[in-house]
């Protein structure tokens, strides 16, 4: 059986679920389904609806009906996010994310507090941003975090070299040569290290983190960084 036949067989079987599906209390209203199909709601809400239809045969059927009816010559409206994303790429999406203000505020606060602290001769000299550990020549991944982060807002952020298109990221966080957190299939280029994972480690502990990216052309990129716990 070739791949096209296999896909149509899977589609047929998946559609079969709708025959006896009852739906549940948490089914989205028809209006929301329509908006999700026709791109009239934001990406996050649309993804939540897609998550729902993957598990609800009835809503999957209603989605297909909306897709059948909605397709036509009319220009589909786009959300502001999609327009900005198309115009500015990843930056547009980031600017729309409410969390970015919090992240930037925390980063600025951390930098501010650090500069106000008296110099401690016992501490090793630090670069201005998280130190890059691996990666030779031109880096595919760049850290966007300062060299020190507070343990309750240890948000690691990175950026791919321009032109690289990520599919998903894996992040591995270690301290004292031991892996403390690992997360795969990250869609966003940021990750909050749970504070409880950092609790065993005193202030000024060097946290090593590695980002691996699966790229859309099937290749991978990886880079390691280190950041200190405040």
């Amino acid at each position: 059986m070739n791949q096209t036949e296999e896909t149509s067989r899977l589609r047929e079987a998946f559609a079969k679920l709708s025959e006896a599906a009852d739906g549940g209390r948490d089914c989205p209203p028809p209006d929301l389904l329509w908006k999700a199909v026709n791109g009239e709601i934001g990406r996050r809400r649309r993804r939540r609806v897609i998550d729902h239809i993957s598990q609800c045969g009835r809503c999957a059927l209603e989605w297909r009906l909306a897709a059948e009816l909605g397709s036509g010559p009319e220009v589909k409206r786009r959300t502001v996010g999609e327009i900005l994303r198309n115009v500015f790429g990843g930056l547009g999406a980031f600017m729309l994310r409410p969390a970015w203000m919090g992240t930037v505020a925390m980063a600025l606060l951390a930098i501010g507090l650090w500069t106000m602290m008296p110099n401690n001769p016992q501490l090793p000299p630090r670069p201005d941003v998280a130190e890059t550990i691996r990666g030779e020549g031109r880096s595919d991944i760049t850290s966007l975090v300062p060299d020190t982060l507070p343990r309750d807002a240890f948000v690691l952020r990175w950026r791919l070299r321009e032109g690289l298109e990520p599919v998903e990221f894996t992040i591995i966080v270690s301290a004292d040569s031991e892996e403390i957190v690992r997360k795969s299939a990250l869609e966003e280029s940021e990750f909050l290290v749970p504070p409880e994972a950092l609790n065993p480690f005193p202030g000024q502990t060097r946290i090593v983190w590695q980002v691996k990216a699966i790229l859309s052309d099937g290749t991978t990129a990886a880079e390691g960084f280190s950041t200190y716990v405040k």
């Binding site: 059986m1 296999e6 896909t7 067989r9 899977l10 589609r11 047929e12 079987a13 998946f14 559609a15 079969k16 679920l17 709708s18 025959e19 006896a20 599906a21 009852d22 739906g23 028809p30 209006d31 389904l33 329509w34 199909v37 026709n38 791109g39 990406r43 649309r46 993804r47 897609i50 998550d51 239809i53 993957s54 598990q55 045969g57 999957a60 059927l61 209603e62 989605w63 297909r64 009906l65 909306a66 897709a67 059948e68 009816l69 909605g70 036509g72 009319e74 996010g81 999609e82 298109e165 990520p166 599919v167 998903e168 795969s184 299939a185 869609e187 699966i214 859309s216 052309d217 099937g218």
Partner: protein, 173 residues
């Protein structure tokens, strides 16, 4: 009501009927004409009330018709039991799935697909779900806000995961 508006509604009813025939389960097939007709009647009544408030676009009409039909489908779905009469049995016999064995296999496969989807990584699950819903890769990419290349990669990996999961259950699509 102007003649052109009536034509719009007739077109809408036809379009609704075609779309319903494409997606409706077999037990609902006998209700398709009624569903489409009722939706259009409700729209016409509403248009009569709002006459003069501005033209209704075809897209808007389809959207409202969709909501009406889905509400009705959900209502039909909630009905506890429908007695099977002779003609109903006939219609089952004439359904699009003449092979009961295949019907059973599809149902089992469908449930397994759903369970396997729940285990896929989030991004792969979303991409595969849309493809299973009939989207092409570029269509799925548009809905998810990803590039075609990225979506293609996720669909490839997701379908592979799905295949492995189904194989573990002894199923092969």
């Amino acid at each position: 009501m102007p003649q052109s508006v009536n034509e719009d509604f007739a077109q809408l009813r036809d379009r609704l009927t075609v779309a319903l025939r494409q997606v409706c389960p077999f037990w609902m097939r006998d209700s398709i004409d009624d569903l489409a007709q009722n939706a259009v009647m409700r729209l016409m009544r509403s248009a009569n009330r709002d006459e003069g408030k501005g033209a209704l676009t075809a897209f808007y009409l389809r959207r409202v018709a969709y909501s009406v039909v889905v509400d009705e489908m959900r209502r039909l779905n909630r009905r506890p039991e429908i007695a099977l009469e002779d003609d109903a049995l006939d219609s089952v016999g004439r359904s699009a799935h003449p092979n009961p064995e295949r019907l059973c296999i599809n149902e089992e496969l469908g449930l397994s697909i759903q369970r396997c989807l729940a285990r896929l990584l989030e991004s792969r699950r979303r991409a595969v779900t849309l493809v299973l819903q009939g989207d092409s890769v570029p269509e799925a990419a548009g809905r998810l806000g990803w590039t075609t290349k990225k979506t293609e990669n996720l669909v490839y990996r997701g379908l592979n995961d799905l295949r492995v999961c189904l194989a573990k259950k002894g199923l092969k699509p």
